[in-house]
């Protein structure tokens, strides 16, 4: 495309935008809403993922010993095991004290001291990494004298499962919203095409190439898509920054710490910008296609 064609395309594209300003604004608004929701879902997914990883990383395996087993033998095996990062021995007396603190009512455990203590001795074991927790727990269960080794796998499993389905649901909803936005772009651009139908027809008779005819409409769609996405990313970025700052200040718990690493956040915003621009472009191409058949 040469300079005069480019100039023509730019002029016509922006003229069309000005002519359909309100419709273009509404379309950009809907794109902004759908992409902000999609971006919100993605940010949520990133944060839930990080939360799960934090939980998994901090998982401890509670190793309950059988009655009368020598803790030193277990301790030796734990020391030698390659997947063990560290461990703490909790004798049953200390276990009872901790249990009483958890319940908040020491009187409830009256009469359970000494011989009557129902709790077993236990080790709290930490694995080298989150991925090794399950394997290490299985290995420890096979140690002689170990009654069970538990790290809350049911809870983690349920969390992973809920997150999995939640992610899919949210992605599906975002996809539908994005599709709706594309249809809206198609409608908006089609109105522009219809408004300039005579011109398009004349252009074909004058020997204009399809790309020449398509360019102003493509530009219009891309500008609408890009504007919508820009609004979405700015709003989402500001909102997320405020939320992240307030959560960090609250310091709720160690695992609800919002993701602020630019390497994880920026690809989401970059992807949204690309997606919005693509939506605009694809919508335009679909709209114009029918009118190019002369």
């Amino acid at each position: 495309m040469n300079m005069s064609a480019l100039r023509y395309g730019l002029r016509q594209g922006f003229l069309s935008l000005r002519r359909n300003l309100w419709l273009a604004a509404v379309t950009a608004g809907i794109i902004a809403i759908s992409l902000a929701i999609l971006g919100g879902f993605l940010l949520l997914a990133v944060n839930v993922g990080q939360m799960l990883r934090t939980i998994e990383t901090n998982l401890e395996i509670a190793v309950f010993l059988e009655e009368g087993v020598d803790p030193a033998a277990i301790s030796r095996q734990l020391t030698e095991h390659a997947l063990v990062q560290g461990y703490v021995f909790v004798p049953k007396e200390q276990g009872l004290v901790e249990f009483a603190q958890t319940l908040g009512d020491p009187a409830f455990l009256a009469g359970m001291e000494g011989e009557n203590n129902p709790l077993p001795d236990l080790f709290r074991v930490r694995a080298n990494d989150a991925q090794s927790v399950a394997a290490l727990a299985a290995a420890i269960r096979a140690f002689p004298g170990v009654e069970t080794a538990d790290y809350g796998e049911e809870l983690v499993g349920r969390l992973i499962s809920v997150t999995y389905w939640l992610n899919r649901l949210l992605l599906g909803m975002s996809g539908l919203l994005a599709l709706g936005a594309v249809f809206l772009i198609v409608t908006t651009i089609r109105l522009s095409v219809v408004a300039r139908q005579d011109e398009v027809g004349v252009m074909k008779y004058l020997g204009a190439s399809n790309s020449f005819i398509r360019f102003p409409f493509l530009l219009e769609g891309v500008v609408i898509g890009w504007t919508g996405t820009l609004v979405a990313t700015i709003a989402l970025g500001l909102g997320y920054e405020r939320l992240a700052t307030s959560l960090q200040q609250e310091a709720l718990t160690f695992f609800i710490r919002p993701v602020t690493d630019p390497a994880m956040i920026l690809p989401i915003f970059g992807g949204l910008l690309l997606l919005g621009t693509l939506m605009g472009g694809i919508g335009s191409i679909v709209s114009v296609r029918k009118f190019l058949r002369v």
Partner: protein, 238 residues
């Protein structure tokens, strides 16, 4: 020599539309040489407009072959098709001017859309407007012009890109006799400069007066092809 002279050749061309049992063009063979002036005459529905569309390659034949400068039009690739259309100047009965553009812009548009440089546009548009007698009307909008003037803009737009051929479909259909006569004279001037001209028309009196080649059609068939011909009796049935 014959091959070099021939610009358009139709060999047993038929064209049927899906929704019509009767073919719009039936087994038509025709040859048009470079620099010829040809009237296509015949009643409405005779197939004149379809023939023009076939030459422009807006339509492709259902059977038979059309060559333009020796190239089979059915086999043109997208780029070749654009090149083909850029060598044809089209003139329509309803002018097809863009009402939001001035006379100058309408003519310049023909060069803009094929990517000609601004310098060339500035040089050629005034020359084309001068050729059709519209110097001084550059800034007028189509709505401010008479029908004859609007058609002159249409002709200027067709010739500004120096086409090999001008195809005109009922160019005087919306004009009074005086304007129609002036336009025909303009087409004759264009033809004298070497451009081939094919005009589909019902203006029997002008055809008779101009004594050019006449190709008469009826029901999609060629029924008469005469050098220095006349409209004949076909107008009686329109």
């Amino acid at each position: 020599m014959r091959g070099e002279l021939t610009l358009i050749e139709l060999k047993r061309v038929s064209k049927s539309y899906n929704n019509c049992a009767q073919p719009a063009v039936a087994n038509l063979s025709l040859q048009v040489n470079r620099g010829e002036f040809v009237f296509l005459v015949g009643p409405s529905g005779a197939g004149k407009s379809t023939l023009i569309k076939l030459v422009f390659r807006e339509q492709t034949p259902s059977s038979g072959q059309i060559t333009f400068e020796g190239r089979d039009l059915s086999r043109l690739k997208q780029k070749e098709l654009l090149r083909h259309r850029r060598r044809i100047g089209m003139v329509f009965q309803d002018y097809r001017l863009l009402k939001q553009k001035t006379v100058y812009e309408n003519v310049a548009f023909a060069l803009e859309v094929i990517g000609r440089p601004a310098k060339e546009i500035r040089r050629k548009v005034p020359a084309a407007l001068a050729e059709v007698g519209l110097t001084g009307k550059e800034k007028a909008f189509p709505a401010e012009l008479s029908g004859g003037e609007q058609q002159r803009v249409g002709i200027a737009r067709a010739i500004v890109k120096d086409p090999l051929i001008v195809l005109a479909d009922e160019p005087t259909g919306n004009l009074d006799r005086n304007n129609a006569l002036q336009l025909m004279e303009l087409f004759e001037t264009i033809n004298r400069s070497g451009t081939t001209v094919i005009i589909a028309t019902h203006a029997w009196d002008l055809v008779d007066r101009m004594k050019k080649r006449v190709v008469a059609m009826e029901n999609g068939c060629l029924i008469r092809d005469e050098q220095r011909g006349s409209y004949g009796n076909e107008h009686v049935s329109t």
